[in-house]
């Protein structure tokens, strides 16, 4: 039987990475996610599995270490929080351009700028719309529990290698810092170099006589070829949209109103839904698990059924734009959010739904 542990979300990420057979973690401390690196340093995964852990001199260096390791076909990752993730955007653009698999964990805090160390969801745009320069997408997973923090590590690595694309776990200070019970999957073996050469024939492991040299680059100076590369990338993103959408629905079958919320906001909203139902308001909750690809189709279907949709986010209104695109004017879509690290209360959500959709 698997052992159930009580752990912080950040610690669960680190333990899950060791168990997933990750080859390397390169990071830089920043609140509220420093426990990831701290846990690694305590746990000594170098002795447990041979996993390499390095505290880089900056977030910029850390993501470029991830780029180097990923190009060699290794299972590599980094984690950071909002201002740190902003610094990583250069590297993420290169990694997406060079089509390399890697995992990045963003435990969001309030911004802009240095902002606050309290939780926020204001990096939604940056995460799902590209973030760095150029047309690219990350697969973005939004955990709402410590268990999902752990589960999304191996899921993230699997998706990253399936698509040769960076995957982001978009968490926040609530999920990163809170403690919950968590159950881990059994230890996976790290791949040997021979296995990597077989599984990732594109990897820069050293040119052997049986193949041409492998080159990892995001550079193409001929515009027409660069366009072809972009077309190829867009096809890949379309395939993600067609096959990788994940979401959860609660009380949606008879819902007359719909709340859409992800991550820690979804937990607050589930309490609000309970209260509203007790007051006779038929409300359902849709929790997107993948923020890219977004559950556009499902929201569009629900828009035929409900009178209005409320997007609840810890920001000024970011995901609400994707909901409006999904709904395409069928019903009213409103936003409720708190900013700057303030966590919304369930009664505020109840009030917002009453004021903006039922009363309004």
């Amino acid at each position: 039987m698997t052992e159930i542990k009580l752990m912080k979300g950040n610690e669960a990420v680190a333990e899950a990475a060791i168990l997933a057979g990750a080859d390397g973690y390169f990071g830089y401390p920043i609140t509220p996610q420093s426990e990831v690196l701290e846990y690694f340093m305590i746990e000594k995964p170098h002795e447990r599995t041979g996993m390499v852990i390095l505290q880089a001199e900056s977030e910029v260096a850390a993501i470029n270490m991830v780029y180097g390791g990923a190009a060699a076909g290794k299972k590599v990752m980094t984690s950071s929080s909002s201002p740190g993730v902003s610094l990583k955007q250069e590297g993420l653009s290169y990694i997406a351009g060079a089509e390399l698999p890697c995992l990045i964990v963003n435990v969001q805090r309030g911004g802009p700028g240095l902002g606050t160390i309290q939780p926020s969801q204001s990096d939604y745009f940056q995460s799902v719309k590209g973030g760095g320069h150029g047309d690219y997408k990350l697969i973005v997973l939004a955990p709402s529990s410590v268990q999902e923090m752990a589960d999304f590590v191996s899921l993230g690595f699997d998706l990253a290698f399936k698509y040769r694309n960076p995957v982001m776990i978009l968490s926040d200070g609530v999920i990163g810092q809170m403690m919950e019970k968590v159950e881990f999957k059994p230890q996976q073996k790290r791949l040997t170099e021979e296995e990597i050469m077989k599984k990732c024939p594109w990897a820069t492991t050293g040119k052997t006589p049986d193949r041409e040299r492998n080159i990892i680059t995001s550079l193409e100076l001929v515009s027409e070829k660069q366009e072809l590369h972009n077309i190829k990338l867009q096809k890949k993103y379309k395939k993600m949209i067609d096959t990788e959408v994940l979401f959860e629905k609660f009380d949606c079958d008879d819902a007359e109103y719909l709340i859409v919320a992800f991550g820690s906001s979804a937990r607050i909203c589930s309490k609000a839904v309970k209260t509203l139902r007790e007051n006779g308001v038929k409300v359902g909750l849709l929790r997107p698990i993948t923020l890219f690809p977004f559950p556009t189709e499902e929201i569009n279907k629900l828009a035929d059924q409900v009178k209005g949709i409320l997007s609840v986010e810890m920001n000024a209104g970011q995901m609400v734009e994707d909901i409006r695109l999904a709904v395409n004017g069928k019903v009213k879509v409103e936003h409720f959010g708190r900013m700057g690290g303030v966590i919304a209360m369930p009664n505020e959500v109840v009030e917002a739904l009453n004021n903006k959709l039922i009363g309004g």
Binding site: G68, A71, K207, T208, R213
Partner: protein, 263 residues
């Protein structure tokens, strides 16, 4: 006798005294005629061939004139973002400690935008090789001032010559990193004469061989010309380099086996 010798005799195996290394591809170099990059590429790849480590070598290309180094060097290579090559190489070496890892970088890449990555990788004592081509100017971008541009030296962003009062001092990054405990071998070479090419090649060989010792970074600066950026003929550029660059960036070993060389 001479009428009996044909081209076939000349190129026959036993008569050949020199041929292009197979570790350089047949692709035409993108460098300006007279530029030192071609020679620096060639001697680097000759060393990889002579050591027989092609299957164990991964290179990291920079941004700048040598951004396309991977087109010419017949080894597995990664192209890094501006200045980030030492970070990329750090992960490569840590994850594949048995491989030979090198970065190939110019002065803008290594000594301006990548100063942090350079200093920290060197100070950590990462066990790879850095080949640093210093021509005192941003070549690919069109001849702008570099951190290594000499005082009084003209560039498109120092059109009346580098004014130290206004633009700051040139950065002797090689002397700087030689002070760091993580560097094992630091040397400054050039490739403008056959004698210098031989010395530079010897330095690169030592830099690669040092990786087996696992003692820290080997750093080979190659002072080179940029006849296009300097707006000179190749011959004039080499003369200008000898007269002006070498007094400021003197050739020779700076640190050997972890010890500063006192001249």
């Amino acid at each position: 006798m001479s009428e009996n010798i044909g081209i076939k005799d000349i190129i026959s195996e036993e008569n050949l005294v020199y041929s292009k290394t197979k570790l350089m591809t047949d692709k035409t170099l993108s460098y300006c005629p007279g530029c030192g990059h071609g020679t620096a590429h060639r001697i680097t790849m000759e060393i990889v061939e002579e050591l027989g480590i092609q299957a164990d070598t991964v290179g990291v290309a920079p941004v700048g004139c040598s951004v396309l180094a991977y087109e010419f060097m017949n080894v597995d290579m990664q192209q890094a973002a501006h200045g980030r090559a030492p970070a990329v190489a750090t992960a490569l070496k840590r994850l594949m400690p048995e491989k030979y890892i090198f970065t190939y970088q110019g002065d803008g890449d290594l000594a301006a935008i990548g100063t942090a990555e350079t200093i920290h990788a060197c100070n950590r004592g990462e066990n790879f090789t850095i080949i640093f081509v210093n021509n005192g100017i941003y070549g690919m971008t069109g001849g702008q001032m570099a951190p290594t541009t000499l005082p009084g030296m003209k560039s498109s962003t120092s059109p009346f010559g580098r004014d130290v009062e206004l633009m700051g001092n040139p950065l002797k990054i090689t002397e700087l990193i030689a002070q760091l405990p993580g560097t094992h071998y630091v040397t400054r070479q050039a490739v403008h004469t056959p004698g210098n090419v031989r010395k530079a090649k010897k330095a690169i060989r030592k830099a690669f061989e040092n990786q087996t010792l696992n003692k820290g970074i080997s750093f080979v600066e190659i002072v080179s010309n940029c006849n296009s950026g300097w707006k000179m003929t190749p011959l004039d550029a080499n003369k200008w380099m000898v007269d002006n660059m070498f007094p400021f960036y003197p050739l020779g070993d700076i640190k050997v086996d972890g010890e500063i060389v006192n001249k």
